[in-house]
């Protein structure tokens, strides 16, 4: 492992961004599944043009695994009609839909208040 001891403000912003993403990734996944059932690949493809959310191949499967164990999403293995590679397709459960409603409300309140403080100028 390469270690850089130099103080880097830009890297500290990266750490802050990773903290910001922790809760956001779960909300993004639940919201995408609310729009329709998807596989892990399907979720990654839907998020591929949204790098700020920060979900990668390496982080999405442990998250899906946890959400499934918590009963917020349900996974089932499906094989395409014409044959080929099977995929695990995830859909939102009733518990997941309820959690999403609460999280969405909390997020909108949080976003509005923070935007009022920080502003929207880049």
């Amino acid at each position: 492992m390469q270690v850089n001891l130099q103080y880097q403000p830009a890297m500290d912003v990266e750490i802050w961004k990773s903290q910001l993403r922790k809760g956001a990734a779960e909300l993004a996944v639940l919201a995408l599944l609310d729009a329709g059932a998807r596989s892990g690949i399907g979720l990654l493809d839907a998020l591929s043009d949204r790098p700020a959310i920060g979900l990668s191949d390496g982080s999405i499967y442990p998250l899906l695994n946890r959400l499934e164990r918590e009963g917020r999403i349900a996974g089932r293995w499906e094989t395409p009609h014409g044959g080929g590679r099977g995929q695990k397709i995830y859909s939102l459960t009733a518990d997941g839909a309820s959690a999403l409603r609460s999280m969405r409300g909390a997020w909108i309140g949080f976003r509005n208040e923070l935007t009022a403080i920080v502003g929207e100028r880049r």
Partner: protein
């Protein structure tokens, strides 16, 4: 090496790293990662997919930590709760090690700063002392012997730096303080550098 061989090698290592999980959980994770890698290989993006997943051990560890913690919350049995606590504590080992190493450097910095101050206030007591026979060295403050050593006794340590000790000790204090600060930041970055977005 063909894509199929690379995928099989990765999955074999992943299954080995997941051996602490029940067989059903392990098989489910390996099957899903297999589907993912085969899909990416079909798109010609196997290298990027493997890089993003990280090594098999790293990939497995993320799953295991999530499962242990979630199981402890769901079941609440003492063994599972203790196991989850251990999993959490292992992350905190980095923090504890960082705290210890940084503290050592900060204490060294404080010691040198005290010595520089002592050389200003009580120059007779502070110094860079060398034992003439043993060659041992001591930096700091000592109580000088009130009477000269009797014949046959080892001679008293000799101070070799004089007033230069102020500059030397102050420089060492700044150096150790800066190293301590660097190490604190380094360990904090190590703690933060986690891939899972759902980490506690």
């Amino acid at each position: 090496m063909s894509d199929a061989t690379r995928i099989e090698d990765y999955l074999r290592a992943l299954a080995r790293a997941l051996r602490s999980l029940p067989e059903r959980d392990r098989d489910d994770i390996v099957a899903e990662i297999r589907a993912h890698l085969e899909h990416r290989a079909g798109e010609g993006r196997l290298d990027a997919a493997i890089k993003s997943l990280g090594g098999p051990d790293n990939c497995a560890r993320t799953f295991i930590e999530e499962i242990k913690i979630q199981t402890a919350f769901a079941d609440g049995g003492p063994a599972k709760t203790f196991g989850a606590l251990l999993a959490l504590a292992s992350r905190r080992v980095t923090a504890a090690a960082g705290l210890f190493v940084s503290l050592v450097f900060f204490l060294l910095a404080a010691g040198f700063a005290f010595t520089a101050l002592a050389e200003i206030v009580t120059p007779d007591l502070a110094g860079f002392w060398v034992g003439p026979e043993t060659g041992s060295i001591m930096i700091g403050t000592i109580e000088p012997p009130s009477v000269p050593p009797a014949p046959g006794e080892p001679p008293a340590p000799r101070e070799i730096m004089g007033r230069w000790l102020i500059l030397f000790a102050a420089g060492m204090a700044v150096l150790f303080f800066v190293i301590g600060q660097w190490l604190s930041r380094f360990f904090i970055r190590l703690m933060m550098r986690r891939k899972s977005p759902s980490a506690i």
